[in-house]
Amino acid sequence: MPISRRWILVLLGPPLIFLIAFFVVPFFVVVISSLHNQQGDWTLANYAKAILDFYYWDTLILTFTLSLYVTVICLVIGYPLAYYMIYSLKSPLVRRFFYIVVVTPLFTSNIVRSFGWMVLLGRRGMVNDALVGIGIIERPIALMFNETSIIIGLSYIMTPFMVLTVSGVLQNIDRSLEEAAQDLGAGRFVTFLKVTLPLSMPGVVAGSLIVFTLSVSAYVTPSIMSGGKKIVMSMLIFQQYGSVFDFNFGATLAVALLVSTMLLVGVYLLLMERTPRTKVARA
C-alpha cells in the first residue's frame, strides 16, 4: 500500500525534526566551534596546535595501535566461536544458550565489565593466582594499569560484536557450495579455507570495522583499565570538556579523531576491495 505524501510528512516529520535539532545541528556546532578560539573569532589555531604538538600524534597513534590489537584479538577469539555456533551446534537449545551468553555482556555497562577484569587482574586476583599456581611466575605481577590491561578489557567488551557479525554472515552462506567442494574431494579443512572463509569475508570486514571504530572512541574501559596512566584520544577529549573547559579545543580533537578514523576505515575498505579473496566472496 503506497503511503501518500501527506502521510509521509506526518510520519517522518517529527522524527526528522528531532534528529536535526538534537543530532545534526549539535554536530555542526562542534565543527564550527573547533574553528573558533575562546574569544569567538574564526581561527585555525586549534588545528595548528593539535597538528604541531607531537603529544597529540602520540596519543592518536597509541589509540589506533591499541584498537588494532583489539580488532585482531576479537577476530581470533570471535571467528571460531561464530563458526562453531553456526556449523557445529545442532541443538537449537544449546545454540540459544550460546546466543544468550554472547548477548548478555552487551547488556551490562562497560564499567561493570571492566570492573570484573579489574578484580581478575589485580595483584591478588584470579589471574595472578593461577599464573603463580602453575609456576609461570614466582610472585604476582602488575597486570593492571598499562596498555595490556586496556587491550584485555577492550577485547572482552568487543568480542560479542565480532561473534554476532561473523555468525550472521556464516548463517547465510549457501551450504550447497560447501557440499559441492566436498563432493569434489576437498576435506573439511580445505573446504573451509577455499570456500567458507572467502565467503565469510564480508562478515570479517564488517566485524573488524565495528570493533575498530568502537575501540577508537571507547572512553570508559581505557580510563578504568589504565587507571589514568595511559591516555587515549577519548580521554583527552573529555578532559577538555570536563576539566580544562576549553570546548573549542575539545571540539577540534573530536573532529580530528573522527576524520582520522574515517580515513583509516577508507584505506582499509579500499585494500579489502583490491584483495581477490573478497571479490570472490562478493561475486
Binding site: P15, Y84, R96, Y99, T104, V119, L164, T213, Y219
Partner: protein
C-alpha cells in the same frame, strides 16, 4: 583423503575452544556477582562466605537510589521518544518511495556510527548555547538520539519480509486504512517494536559516554556514579551495585528471549549493522 582421527581432533579443538570462549564471556560477570556476596570488607573471588550485607548497605544509601531513579526515568523516557519517532520513520522508510530516501535512511542510522563521546560533547555544547546544559533534558535528548536507530532497525527488519499486499487485502475487504494498520501491520511489526524498545531501554540504562557530559553532583545516573566511584576505590558494596545492573541485563535478555526469541532479536539487529 585426510584421515578421520585428524578431523575428530580438529572438531574437538574447535569445540573446546568455543566453550572456553563462552566461559571467558561469563567470568568477569560471575566475578562481580560472586564478590558482591563476600563478607570480607575487600573484594574477594571466590567469596569467602555469603552475606547480603552490601546489598542492604547500598539500598540504604539515598544517593544510589536517586541515581537509579534518574537512570530508570531516563531510559524509559528515551525509549518512549524512540518508540514514537522510530516506528513511524521505519514505516515510511520501508514503504514509501521518494527522492532522498537513501540519505534519510543513512541519517537515522548515523548516531550508531558517530562516536558516543562526540555526540556527548556536541549535546553539551549545544545545550550550553541554548541554556539547558547539565540538566535532565540535555541527557534525555542525547539518549533519545542514540537509541532511535535501534527501534528503526528492528522495526524495519520486521517489515522487510512482510508482504504489503496483506494490508491491501484487508482494505479490499472493507477495512479502513487505520483498521488495516492496527489489525494487520501492527501485529506483524510487534516483535521488532518490542525488541527495539527493550534495546533502547538497555542502551540508555548502561550509557556513560553521553551522560557524563551533563551530570552534576545532584543529577547522577547510576553508570556515571559507578564510574566515578570505581576510578578511585573498589569495595564489595560497589560490587553489589554492579551486580544489580547485571541482574537487570539478565532480566531484559530473558524477556527478549521469551517475548521475541533471542536468535530473532540477534538477526533483526544484523540488518544494516556496520558503518
Amino acid at each position: 583423503m585426510i584421515d578421520r582421527s585428524s578431523i575428530g581432533a580438529g572438531r574437538f579443538v574447535l569445540s573446546a575452544f568455543s566453550w572456553l570462549v563462552l566461559l571467558y564471556l561469563l567470568i568477569p560477570l560471575a566475578v562481580i556477582v560472586g564478590a558482591s556476596f563476600t563478607p570480607s570488607p575487600y573484594l574477594r573471588f571466590p567469596p569467602d562466605g555469603f552475606t547480603l550485607h552490601w546489598y542492604g548497605q547500598f539500598l540504604k544509601d539515598d544517593s544510589y537510589l536517586r541515581a537509579i531513579w534518574t537512570s530508570g526515568l531516563l531510559a524509559v523516557s528515551a525509549a518512549a521518544i524512540a518508540l514514537l519517532t522510530g516506528v513511524p520513520a521505519a514505516l515510511v522508510l520501508a514503504r514509501a518511495q521518494f527522492a532522498g530516501k537513501q540519505v534519510l535512511g543513512a541519517l537515522f542510522f548515523s548516531p550508531l556510527i558517530l562516536p558516543a563521546i562526540v555526540i556527548g560533547a556536541a549535546i553539551l555544547q549545544y545545550a550550553s548555547a541554548l541554556g539547558f546544559a547539565r540538566s535532565f533534558s540535555a541527557m534525555l535528548v542525547g539518549h533519545a538520539v542514540i537509541v532511535i536507530p535501534y527501534v528503526v532497525r528492528t522495526t524495519l527488519a520486521s517489515l522487510i519480509g512482510f508482504d504489503a499486499s496483506l494490508e491491501e487485502a484487508a482494505r479490499d475487504l472493507g477495512d479502513s486504512a487505520h483498521g488495516a494498520f492496527f489489525r494487520v501491520t501492527l501485529p506483524i511489526i510487534k516483535p521488532g517494536v518490542i525488541a527495539g524498545t527493550l534495546f533502547a531501554v538497555i542502551i540508555s540504562w548502561i550509557n556513560v559516554e553521553l551522560s557524563m557530559f551533563n551530570t552534576t553532583a545532584d543529577l547522577m545516573t547510576i553508570p556515571v556514579k559507578l564510574f566515578n566511584y570505581i576510578q578511585y576505590s573498589v569495595d564489595p558494596m560497589i560490587a553489589a551495585v554492579s551486580a544489580g545492573t547485571i541482574y537487570v541485563a539478565v532480566l531484559v535478555v530473558a524477556i527478549l528471549d521469551l517475548a521475541v526469541g533471542i536468535d530473532r532479536v540477534v538477526s533483526m539487529n544484523r540488518q544494516r549493522t556496520g558503518p
